[in-house]
């Protein structure tokens, strides 16, 4: 079993080749990309220690993204389920409607620092695309967003937003026409334009530096949560932190500050989509988009197609950092079906005022399953990491309504 290092940030627990636990991650990329990613790594290592840059980041998080996102108890749901206390870290309240706002903003800031004027990113659900487009506009960068044609049609509200923000949407029509193809095409674009373009990878995936930037940025969520928990409970209570997993960027941000806690004290639970679940269905380790990771493949090693109603989860791979958390036993992973996520949305929106998108609806489904089996002293916190408006059409198709 892989052992995690205490007091070392999770993103820094790699060897000199970029491997976590000698098994996950690495830099499986074309020679053309080596120098640009090395330059980016140096820049990032400098910036994360640079007070001025950190001040700038915090300024943007506070004034541009709206500051601390709320943390509150879902009293009706808790009463209804009659077990553990259920709390919501409502990251969807951020300006930008999802946790992707953090690393989109940081990527745009890094791009600016690097002197590059172009930024390119991939998107599935459109949340990263929209946030990157917004950040690029704010910082006067030219932005291209790569998106599968299937996702362009099922996440239309976000596509409109991206275009309105002045970014170019590059439709990707190859393969399954979803996130996996968008990431591939975006990486190709980078291989061809790495001299003037910054690559902003939409999740904690890709070569070592890309997943580091992503998880470093989203960790803002757990920094806030820790403070909010202490304010509410006077200490860190016995917790279960439930988060949905696509690539895994929101979970890494939600869990980051709690990695060193004993798992009996703070349990980390990741919820994948049933037919896109490499971590919870014993997938093999494979190399996808530059890194070794748990990934769905066929016997020949070809990357498998996935199926999820949720565009953000429709991805065959997973962050190498989740491979590390799984193999070290620090986090555990499970999955929820489309139907379970829809049912969770139904119940939550009937009882509470939040409107989760399809992605966090998967996490809510696990919360609803677990809560009745637990004691009142147990605290469940769910990261409500995306707003539901983008899935309004899908909810109406599937449920016949979208709550007010």
């Amino acid at each position: 079993m892989i052992k995690l290092k205490k007091k070392t940030p999770l993103i820094d627990q790699h060897n000199k080749f970029g491997f976590y636990g000698n098994k996950f991650g690495g830099n499986y990329c074309a020679e053309t990309m080596r120098k640009p990613i090395e330059d980016l790594s140096k820049l990032f290592e400098k910036l994360r220690k640079d007070r001025k840059f950190l001040k700038k980041r915090d300024h943007y998080f506070k004034h541009y993204l709206g500051g601390e996102t709320p943390f509150f108890k879902l009293k009706n749901l808790t009463r209804h389920l009659g077990g553990a206390q259920i709390w919501c870290k409502d990251v969807s309240a951020i300006n930008g409607d999802a946790h992707k706002a953090y690393h989109a903003t940081v990527n745009a800031l890094i791009c600016k620092e690097s002197g590059k004027r172009h930024i390119a990113g991939d998107t599935g659900a459109g949340m990263f695309g929209k946030n990157l487009a917004m950040a690029a506009k704010k910082m006067n960068l030219k932005c291209k967003i790569f998106m599968g044609t299937k996702d362009i049609s099922r996440q239309a509200p976000n596509v409109k937003f991206i275009r309105d923000a002045g970014a170019e949407v590059v439709p990707v029509d190859s393969g399954s026409k979803t996130l996996v193809d968008a990431v591939s095409e975006c990486m190709r674009h980078y291989v061809s334009n790495c001299d003037n373009t910054h690559l902003a990878v939409g999740s904690a995936i890709g070569c070592n530096i890309f997943l580091k930037i992503c998880a470093w940025s989203t960790s803002q969520i757990s920094r806030e949560l820790k403070k909010q928990l202490i304010k509410e409970f006077g200490k860190i209570p016995k917790l279960k932190l439930i988060n949905v997993i696509g690539g895994g960027s929101s979970a890494l941000g939600f869990w980051n500050e709690f990695i060193d806690y004993d798992k009996k004290h703070v349990e980390l639970i990741g919820v994948e989509a049933k037919y896109a679940a490499p971590l919870s269905t014993n997938a093999k380790v494979a190399i996808l988009h530059g890194a070794a990771q748990y990934c769905l493949t066929d016997k020949e090693g070809q990357i498998a197609e996935t199926h999820s109603l949720s565009a953000g989860l429709d991805y065959p791979g997973s962050s190498p950092l989740h491979g590390l958390l799984k193999d070290s036993g620090r986090a555990r992973y499970t999955y929820a079906s489309d139907k379970e996520a829809l049912n969770a949305f139904k119940l939550i929106t009937k009882l509470e005022d939040i409107r989760p998108s399809l992605e966090p609806a998967h996490a809510w489904s696990e919360c609803i399953r677990l809560a009745p089996k637990l004691k009142k002293s147990d605290v469940l916190v769910v990261n409500n990491c995306g707003k539901g408006y983008k899935d309004k059409k899908i909810y109406i198709e599937q449920l016949g309504y979208y709550p007010k």
């Binding site: 020679e31 291989v191 494979a286 996808l288 988009h289 020949e300 090693g301």
Partner: protein, 266 residues
């Protein structure tokens, strides 16, 4: 056939021309057709590169993506590729064949098993697009122990320091990427600049055979003839696509194209 790659370069040099190297995707559009194409063009080739199709090819442009897609649609498997190499080598034992692919295919099959199968079937060299230096050190050693040439790549972005290290650990052939791009896009740099990069590499170690690839077409090939070898890939894959679309025989069309390419560098 030991050192057949070196021999191929020697022959070309004697004829005062660069070696002509083709890239096609094994199994495009069917297993038999891809072998027929290779058999037919091999008389004009010095070295044949065969692509192992992968469905997430992050360094390939549209043309090679299309070829890979067709091959996979028609059910090509890695074991078929080894069998096809064996069949090719049976009739043309001295023609070097290099397999080119992504590391996922090899990783999934197992490094050692993959190299053993390469050796058994007569593969002379390997190019693994996304296994770059220094991560490829062990794999390159494993190749060397089995008399397989591991071809290192050098890009326009490669620094001089890194270039020296790569050349030091390279085998008899080095692949120079002409421009910052995926396969098959137009040359972004002037011919002069590409040749300048080539000369920098050659100066570090003149004995290495340095080939130039990416963006080589009928139009550009003759201007780059001072290289030790030139790789034409996407232009050939594009010709296969066109032939299939027009319901023509890709074997004759591709053979004609390769003959034309050869004539431009004689």
């Amino acid at each position: 056939m030991k050192n057949s790659i070196n021999n191929a370069f020697r022959t070309a040099k004697k004829e005062n021309r660069p070696a002509l190297i083709s890239y096609t995707v094994c199994g495009d559009n069917t297993k038999d057709k891809s072998l027929q194409i290779l058999n037919s063009i091999s008389k004009d080739l010095d070295i044949a590169e065969w692509g192992i199709p992968h469905n997430c090819p992050t360094a390939d442009g549209k043309d090679i993506q299309n070829s890979s897609y067709r091959a996979l649609q028609n059910g090509i498997r890695l074991n078929d590729i080894f069998k096809l190499v064996q069949r090719f080598k049976k009739t043309k034992p001295s023609k070097p064949i290099i397999l080119m692919g992504y590391y996922q295919t090899i990783f999934n099959y197992g490094d050692k098993k993959f190299i053993r199968k390469c050796k058994e079937s007569g593969v002379d060299g390997l190019i693994v697009v996304d296994l770059s230096f220094p991560d490829n050190k062990n794999f390159a050693k494993l190749c060397k122990r089995n008399s397989i040439c591991f071809v290192q790549l050098i890009a326009p972005t490669t620094t001089l320091k890194r270039m020296k290290e790569i050349i030091k650990s390279s085998h008899e052939m080095i692949y120079m990427i002409s421009t910052i791009s995926t396969t098959g896009s137009a040359l972004k740099y002037s011919i002069k600049r590409i040749i300048k990069n080539f000369n920098i590499i050659k100066k570090i170690k003149p004995s290495k055979n340095v080939v130039i690839g990416f963006g080589i077409t009928e139009k550009t090939i003759s201007n780059l003839r001072s290289a030790d070898g030139l790789v034409v890939g996407s232009a050939i894959c594009r010709e296969i696509t066109r032939s299939l679309k027009d319901r023509q025989n890709p074997v004759t069309n591709v053979s004609k194209l390769v003959r034309k390419l050869k004539n431009k560098i004689i």
